[in-house]
Symmetry: C2
Subunit: 400 residues, 2 copies
């Protein structure tokens, strides 16, 4: 059992008109920043804001009449659940989704909104998945695996067909790996259409499941990554078998590069990527020498980032750019110290957004005072000016 | 002197191939939320992320050879500066931009990056503008007004041509008004192509300059709006004369609706709008009855929102949705109070992100303690559960 270019072309025919033919646009600014020639495929413009619809729909469209009537089931709290439920509803196929108990109600409701029956069960994804298998047998449903399924893989592969149609010059594709559905489909399609194209896997450093399998080690897998969409502990059997021979390498991405990539998509492309959705760009940022001067196709594969997380990533970017800085001031504990320091900062055009006193800290003289002032500035040059102004007034700050 | 549909068609021919033919897509989710049939024109996908390129380029392309050599000048710290500088550089026309002294260096550098000479002068926009007029005369340059100029207006009008080409069913256009360049161009084009279309102006409630002129009153204009791109104190003469007879009404938008619109664009459309860029959607949210059941074309006219502002808008949206809540707890000031309350919140699945003590507050008994705990929750139902848990443990919280 494998997946061929003909399967992927057949999937493309099946999907035509039922999913978005998303744009694949060159980005001059990302090209300038990274030194590569960059194209971006905006799969975050699918209706459910992620590529997962392709595989799910390709699966649904191949069910027998009796299977369509009985319905499908999957375990997922993410994009696969949305994609399957949305297209199931469109086609009149009953969809059951099992999610862990702690799933945010907003995700449950999104999925119910598409007419799916949502069952909350288990503490972890693995628990939910095991229960989904059980229900699947009991109710005689069709299990739709999020990645380790030939029809799902063929559906995801259609992305590469579209990219090479729109931008035939692309010669390297860094593709995110979670369970491997996206990369096995895309690599199969890309290598068939353009045999000398290079396909490179991209994994979160906390979840190097493909790398581990490839290199034969057992890593410590786990942790809180912002790329939750590719935080998969075990790569698929089928996906691994397909993708392994087609990949030249797999790159591991640290959290800070995911964050920079999400922030860059917002600031430069004015588009919203989830952590996993920004993985291809993160690879370009983390390993620029691998891509310099080449024609790189990035697949922005999903845009479902939690609002809170996005706000936090953007704020952290400001701290990284030194447009928000925490100054630690140590002075004599006399009335008027804060007033003086505030006046210096305000006079230099800084905007104080938070002050906290640490009177009890032992690294301050007993009659001294220490406080931290969080200041917004216009830019890092402005931050330097404020630092200098504080120094000149006798309060050399430490930056924290 | 006026602007005709022929001027706008001529502008469209001039611009073709030199600006992005941005997509105009229907939005099912925004339609569902607002009860109207909504299309969105993504002008934030222009290279400089705003529609201003159209007017600026239409102006540049009509300069005489001698004018092109001498160069152009404008006062702007925003999208007009970027659009003019970018196309000036492309065409080899020298561009001078005057900005107020306090302009963030990042904006200065963006503009210099496009080869413009940036002069920092004056405290306010008006000061910078007066100085630009002076330099213009001294150096014999061509002044490119950001809105009150027939060629600029004709350029902006091309947006409406494209929208009605892509979505001929649109029957009402709510269009942001700052100085009036966008709406006078778009209304001229739309009414010529489809005489029974309705064009409605949209102004920030803090800057009702068009409304004031129309209704003959002198309002208190000013204030910190997130729609800084349309925070213009005086509408143009030419733009007013053109637009006034073509508009059925002007709607005023409060800050909270701008914020909701920016957040909706991020959450639903996965796209980044600046405050002024989200004004059309804000109008739909603020006055749903005006648009219900109709075919509404929204022009998302710019995406250059400050990162810090965007992060803050998204965070405020979480507070509005009650996914971030500050609980005020009053208890007895004994060791272990915070531990108990934290345990209750943690046990109910809430995530404490900030604690502040107000031991000295007079509305607390002398031997009591008061503190505010900022908690992240999954959703508003979860917030209710945590409130209830605190109540049951004897610490009924006040929400702030």
């Amino acid at each position: 059992m494998s997946v061929t270019i003909d399967d992927i072309r057949a999937a493309a025919d099946r999907l035509a008109g039922h999913i978005e033919r998303t744009p694949c646009r060159p980005s001059r600014t990302l090209s300038q920043i990274t030194g590569a020639n960059v194209w971006v495929k905006f799969e975050n413009l699918q209706f459910t804001a992620a590529f997962k619809e392709r595989g799910a729909l390709n699966k649904l469209l191949q069910l027998s009449a009796s299977e369509q009537k009985r319905g499908v089931i999957a375990a997922s709290a993410g994009n696969h659940a949305q994609g399957l439920s949305y297209h199931g509803q469109r086609l009149g196929v009953p969809v059951t989704i099992v999610m862990p108990v702690q799933t945010p109600v907003v995700k449950v409701e999104h999925t119910r909104h598409f007419g799916a029956e949502v069952i909350l069960h288990g503490e972890t994804y693995d628990d939910a998945n095991a229960y989904a298998r059980e229900i699947c047998n009991q109710r005689d449903l069709v299990f739709v695996h999020p990645f380790d399924d030939a029809d799902v893989i063929a559906g995801q592969g259609t992305i590469a067909l579209e990219m090479l149609e729109d931008a035939p010059d692309i010669d390297v594709l860094p593709v995110p790996i979670g369970g491997g559905g996206l990369i096995s489909g895309m690599a199969t399609a890309a290598k068939a259409v353009k045999p000398d194209i290079e396909v490179i896997g991209v994994e979160a450093a906390m979840y190097p499941s493909f790398t581990a399998r490839m290199r034969g080690f057992r890593p410590n897998i786990g942790g809180q990554t912002i790329a939750e969409g590719i935080a998969v502990k075990t790569v698929g059997e089928l996906t691994y078998a397909i993708a392994r021979p087609l990949l030249s390498d797999v790159l591991l991405i640290e959290e800070s590069d995911f964050e920079r990539a999400v922030a860059l998509y917002v600031n430069v492309e004015k588009t919203v990527a989830e952590g996993a959705g920004a993985a291809s760009l993160a690879a370009l940022l983390a390993y620029p020498e691998r891509f310099r001067g080449r024609n790189v196709g990035l697949v922005l594969c999903g845009g479902n980032i939690d609002t809170r997380l996005l706000a936090s990533v953007l704020t952290r970017e400001l701290i990284r750019e030194r447009r928000m800085t925490s100054f630690r001031i140590i002075g004599d504990d006399r009335p008027g110290l804060l007033a003086t320091v505030s006046a210096v900062i305000g006079g230099a055009g800084g905007n104080i957004i938070e002050v906290s006193h640490n009177r009890l800290s032992l690294d301050v003289p007993a009659k001294g005072a220490e406080f931290d002032i969080m200041v917004e500035t216009r830019d890092s040059k402005h931050t330097d000016e404020i630092t200098e102004a504080l120094r000149q007034h006798g309060y050399p700050p430490r930056t924290i």
